[in-house]
């Protein structure tokens, strides 16, 4: 009877601990969100969206940084998405029996979790050094390199979910293979593609490390893609580390803005895929 009680006690202890572990995980999420809201909400004003980043000690906003972030994210997505989708198509549709496909899949999964600062170094070596100066193009390229593995992965997964009967039916009608892929498979997997792109945008828009040595930063409004460009993450980094209260407050505002956008994208992406799963 003693042994029985000991086993029961141990079970109860472990299960209680696992409950507290979960509570702790959720607590961190709430703590971070709470900090962002309590510090950042007061900085979210109209000025934030209409004024450029100020010199220390004066009022301003984050307009140039928001513009830079949106622009570079858009370019990165525009470059990275087609590459990722085509590469994913190769893995899902054209690689049957090939030896190289598992290698590509393996390397892609490693690129997916590789440190993003390495991507920054790579683009610095390849683009910034060659051009001789930091530029928004370099920043966008660094982000595009991060987009590719994310899109590739979801594309392949989603194409594999398309039932083979659809492909066979189309082939039986004499449809050329590229049309089967583009007009049948892509259409069936469209929702998944959208999810993949949303996840990629969410991932990229918070990335700081790859922009540090590529797009650098710019205190003024600039729409020149060949020059350094302001962007939210680097501005947050610079302003938060500064001793000026105005800058720190702007950093919190930017942090709140970026987190809300990213969390919404994440939730939307998840909602889109869960709807799909239930349909099947």
């Amino acid at each position: 009877m003693d042994l029985y009680r000991r086993r029961r006690t141990r079970n109860a202890v472990v299960l209680t601990l696992s409950f507290f572990a979960t509570a702790l995980g959720l607590f961190w999420l709430c703590a971070i969100l709470w900090t962002l809201l309590s510090n950042g909400l007061s900085a979210i004003t109209l000025d934030l969206f209409t004024q450029n980043t100020p010199p220390p000690g004066s009022k301003g906003g984050l307009l140039n940084a928001i513009y830079g972030s949106v622009l570079m994210t858009a370019i990165a997505t525009a470059i990275g998405t087609p590459i990722g989708i085509l590469a994913g198509t190769f893995l899902a549709e054209y690689s049957r029996g090939s030896r190289i496909a598992p290698v590509i899949r393996f390397i892609n999964d490693i690129l997916l979790s590789a440190p993003s600062i390495i991507v920054g170094l790579f683009v610095y070596e390849v683009v910034v050094l060659r051009m001789g100066h930091f530029s928004a193009w370099a920043g966008a390229m660094a982000l595009a390199i991060i987009v590719v593995p994310v899109v590739l992965r979801t594309t392949e997964d989603m194409l594999r979910l398309v039932p083979n009967a659809l492909r066979e039916a189309a082939a039986a009608l004499g449809t050329p293979q590229w049309q089967i892929v583009v007009r049948i498979c892509y259409r069936a997997a469209m929702q998944g593609f959208v999810t993949g792109v949303m996840l990629a945008v969410a991932r990229v828009s918070g990335e700081t490390a790859p922009l540090l040595f590529t797009a650098l930063n710019n205190q003024f409004w600039s729409s020149n893609l060949n020059a350094p460009m302001a962007n939210l993450p680097v501005v947050i980094f610079q302003f938060a580390m500064s001793p000026y209260a105005d800058w720190q407050s702007l950093a919190w505002g930017g942090a709140l803005l970026i987190s809300v956008v990213i969390l919404l994208l994440n939730i939307a992406a998840r909602a889109a895929t869960s709807g799909k799963r239930e349909n099947q």
């Binding site: 440190p115 583009v182 970026i258």
Partner: protein
């Protein structure tokens, strides 16, 4: 199908042949593009390795093997060694694993064994959202909220208790600064939670219900089922998940840069400031003057890349092995 039949059979046939040959060209083009971009991924990795080696070469050839073993980091005399950043990277990641692993395990048990079905998805999603928060947010939260909190509570407590214990006392010596190696490790432990938990939860779900139910039928408690049945069955996947988390922790940049203190020194106490490879890069790269300085920083990046590449490859191989087993 919309083609009007005006001419005879011959004309129709010719039209079909034209169409077919055009489709053949388009087919080849599309296939070629897909294959090219598939190979592009390999090219990308090759390019990264080449660029890093190329940039790191001046420093590596100048310092030789000393680069890895030397602790000095002096931009004025141009003497650079990677020992302190490597040490910081490894120690912060180990702290992150030591704390993050049991918590992730607990969360995975809770989600798979305890949690009522309707709560599973919301809790799972909430934990996954931790992975969505950008690392810079962890950084400013860590610097302004978490570090002061640790400075006034946990760190004085650790110094007063564990700091007095012989042998390990040195690890917890010194003043409570708030920022430092320990704080960086703690923040990393929060950041790796979602990655390890997600893998553990997924592999725990692959255990055949028959096995678990048999164990329950013999009168096992939930903990005994998890420890004796689920864990041995999924060991490979669990190790893979842990390695995946480790890979993330090793390369994490912004969060660490904010809270580690950026000191190129190896100190006994884990409460003291230190640096990691990625933090050194983020802090010094744009301000580095001199080719040797820049090259040394790139060499640091190369070392980081090699370490994470091996850790992540190991993780991936283990997870692939599990996938193959459950597939067959």
């Amino acid at each position: 199908m919309t083609t009007q039949i005006v001419g005879g059979r011959k004309q129709l046939q010719a039209e079909y042949l034209r169409w077919a040959s055009r489709q053949r060209v388009l087919d080849a083009a599309f296939r070629g593009a897909a294959t090219f971009f598939g190979l592009f991924v390999l090219l990308l990795l090759g390019g990264v390795i080449f660029a890093l080696v190329d940039g790191a070469w001046p420093a590596l050839s100048h310092f030789g093997f000393d680069f890895v073993t030397s602790e000095s980091w002096n931009p004025v005399t141009e003497k650079f060694g990677a020992r302190a950043p490597i040490y910081g990277t490894v120690v912060t990641s180990l702290i992150a694993m030591a704390i993050g692993l049991p918590i992730s395990f607990g969360i995975a048990i809770f989600i798979t064994e305890l949690c009522p079905g309707w709560l599973r998805r919301p809790i799972g999603t909430a934990i996954e959202l931790l992975a969505g928060i950008p690392s810079i947010i962890y950084g400013i939260w860590g610097l302004f909220v978490f570090a002061p909190f640790l400075q006034s509570t946990l760190q004085p407590f650790l110094i007063a208790t564990l700091g007095e214990v012989p042998l390990i006392g040195g690890l917890f010596a010194g003043p409570p600064l708030g920022i430092g190696v320990f704080t960086a490790g703690l923040i990393l432990s929060i950041m790796v939670l979602p990655f390890i938990t997600a893998v553990m939860r997924d592999v725990f779900m692959t255990v055949p219900p028959m096995l678990k139910e048999s164990a329950y039928g013999l009168g096992c408690t939930t903990w005994e089922v998890v420890w004796r049945v689920v864990l041995p069955y999924t060991r490979v996947g669990v190790v893979g998940g842990v390695m995946l988390g480790l890979g993330r922790a090793l390369g994490e940049t912004m969060a660490v840069t904010f809270v580690i203190g950026n000191a190129h020194r190896i100190q006994n106490s884990i409460l003291a400031p230190g640096t990691t490879i990625s933090a050194a890069l983020a802090n010094e790269f744009t301000e580095a003057v001199g080719d040797l300085y820049l090259s040394s920083l790139i060499a640091l990046g190369f070392i980081l890349f090699v370490i994470t590449f091996f850790v992540l490859s190991f993780a991936k191989l283990l997870l692939l092995r599990l996938e193959r087993r459950s597939g067959s």
